[in-house]
């Protein structure tokens, strides 16, 4: 166990050094968030009907999304991609450890370190200046935190899957190109899921991507009450386990192919 923790910690520390990129990302996300907020404000003011989410909640949802943007599984792990592209991935097999576990540890760091760098200042700025609300209650706050941890695991599992898919497409053009688009739609990053038409809600509620953003954000706002946390966690972790198993199976086949065909 120690081995995997060390791998994750080492990558985490290395990634924390990318402060310039984080600053640039922070500024970009501020702009993006501000734009989306303006669009939503304009839409909300164009209708007097009752909505599943209030404008204030939508605004909080948007800013949470921008704060947590870096943990979305919208790109493959860069190190793994380079390894596969150069053929050096075969040398990973020289380590006496389970390969999926090593990669998962790496990816966990890849999804958390950049997020930490951007989320902290974003929370502060958005809450003080930009209309983001505080958690609906202490319970909601805790629920959000727990759910966020599960969301990161889920995101890592998805990232692992698309990174592993590179073993078949090497240059990176396979499902790794399509998943980002699907993630943005079905996690609620384009439009908060509750605002989708009523007939779509059941399907949306079952998708794995929901666990990345929609679930934790709605827990934060109390839109999903904190007592629903166990069910929400079951949703997120259930999908995580399923995707981990799928990823392990794919990796086993991919490495088999690699050691038989050569790098």
């Amino acid at each position: 166990m120690n081995a995997y923790y060390s791998v994750m910690a080492a990558r985490f520390r290395a990634l924390l050094q990318y402060r310039a990129a984080a600053a640039a990302g922070f500024a970009t996300q501020l702009f993006w968030g501000a734009m989306k907020v303006m669009v939503f404000q304009a839409f909300y003011r164009s209708s007097t009907a009752h909505q599943p989410m209030s404008l204030a909640q939508s605004i909080t949802y948007i800013w949470l999304g921008q704060a947590m943007l870096a943990m979305l599984p919208w790109n493959v792990d860069r190190e793994i991609a380079v390894m596969i592209r150069t053929g050096n991935v075969v040398y990973e097999l020289l380590r006496p450890r389970d390969l999926y576990a090593i990669w998962f540890s790496r990816i966990l760091a890849f999804r958390t370190a950049p997020t930490l760098l951007r989320a902290a200042p974003m929370f502060v700025v958005a809450m003080l200046l930009l209309g983001m609300q505080a958690p609906a209650s202490v319970g909601s706050g805790f629920a959000y935190a727990a759910s966020m941890l599960a969301a990161i695991l889920l995101s890592a599992a998805i990232t692992a899957l698309i990174s592993i898919s590179l073993l078949w497409t090497i240059s990176g053009d396979g499902i790794s190109r399509i998943v980002p688009g699907l993630v943005t739609i079905f996690s609620g990053m384009i439009v908060p899921l509750p605002l989708f038409p009523a007939w779509a809600q059941t399907a949306l509620n079952w998708s794995p991507f929901r666990g990345i953003a929609d679930i934790p954000y709605r827990l934060y706002m109390g839109h999903i009450p904190p007592d629903q946390l166990p069910y929400m966690l079951a949703h997120q972790l259930g999908w995580t386990v399923a995707l981990v198993l799928l990823g392990r199976w794919m990796l086993a086949r991919g490495t088999r192919r690699l050691v038989v065909q050569g790098g």
Binding site: M38, V39, S47, D173, I175, I178, G181, L182, I190
Partner: protein
């Protein structure tokens, strides 16, 4: 086999992302009904035009994306040694055909909107639309060049400029009148996206009181002017590069 597959996937990828944006717009209209008086087909018209412009700009000028690597590895010297325009060389390095997906979807949105709105395509309207899109291509091309030009002064190209390129495209997919004044001013005076997308489109959609017809004819030229300015800055950058020797 693999190259063909990878190309298809890339196109599919951009299609999914663009379709996602369209889906978002549709969902919001389905929920709220209208956007400060604008309807879905009208917004789709704006969306189509802007996306055609940025997709075409990406298609032609994506070569500048890798410019920071080029400078760092010293490959720009080779470009300078060839007796051709530096801009054309770098742009010509890569024809990013994958953006054809976004272009096609933008075109589809535009045409759908036009039929839903019952727009009668007079030569004048066609020219105005194409002028707007062409102007948009100029603006985005200028921005891509500008983003690369920064590499002459710093090592990394400024990621912040994505705010103006992709942020601008994102903003202009809605009629700019829905935004706060500071954003509108940004996209009129600094990066003239308003001139090339909003004004001509608004004229075609014939909304009274939103734009003066004459202005909307001239405004695509703002795109050309913008591009000219960006190219000038590029030349300054090249001169600096030559004098300091990277």
């Amino acid at each position: 086999m693999q190259y063909r597959w990878s190309f298809v996937m890339m196109v599919l990828g951009t299609l999914v992302i663009t379709a996602g944006e369209l889906l978002g717009i549709w969902v919001l209209f389905a929920r709220f009904g209208s956007l400060k008086g604008w309807t879905l087909p009208q917004v789709a018209f704006f969306y189509g035009g802007v996306n055609m412009a940025i997709a075409f700009g990406e298609l032609l000028f994506r070569g500048f994306d890798q410019f920071s690597t080029m400078v760092r590895q010293g490959d720009f010297d080779r470009v300078l040694l060839r007796p051709r325009s530096t801009v054309l060389q770098i742009a010509g390095q890569e024809l990013s055909l994958q953006h054809i997906g976004r272009f096609a979807l933008g075109l589809a949105a535009l045409l759908w909107a036009a039929t839903r709105l019952g727009i009668v395509w007079t030569p004048a309207k066609a020219v105005l639309t194409m002028g707007g899109i062409a102007g948009g291509v100029c603006v985005f091309a200028g921005l891509f060049v500008l983003q690369a030009t920064i590499c002459f002064w710093t090592v990394e190209s400024l990621e912040l400029m994505n705010i103006l390129t992709y942020g601008g495209a994102e903003a202009a997919q809605y009629p700019l009148s829905i935004y706060r004044p500071w954003l509108q001013r940004l996209f009129v005076w600094i990066v003239p996206l308003a001139c090339i997308s909003y004004l001509p489109s608004a004229a075609i959609l014939a909304r009274p009181g939103e734009s003066a017809p004459l202005l909307s004819w001239v405004s695509p030229l703002a795109g050309v002017v913008f591009l000219a300015v960006c190219l000038r800055v590029w030349k300054l950058g090249v001169r600096r590069y030559c004098s300091t020797g990277s």
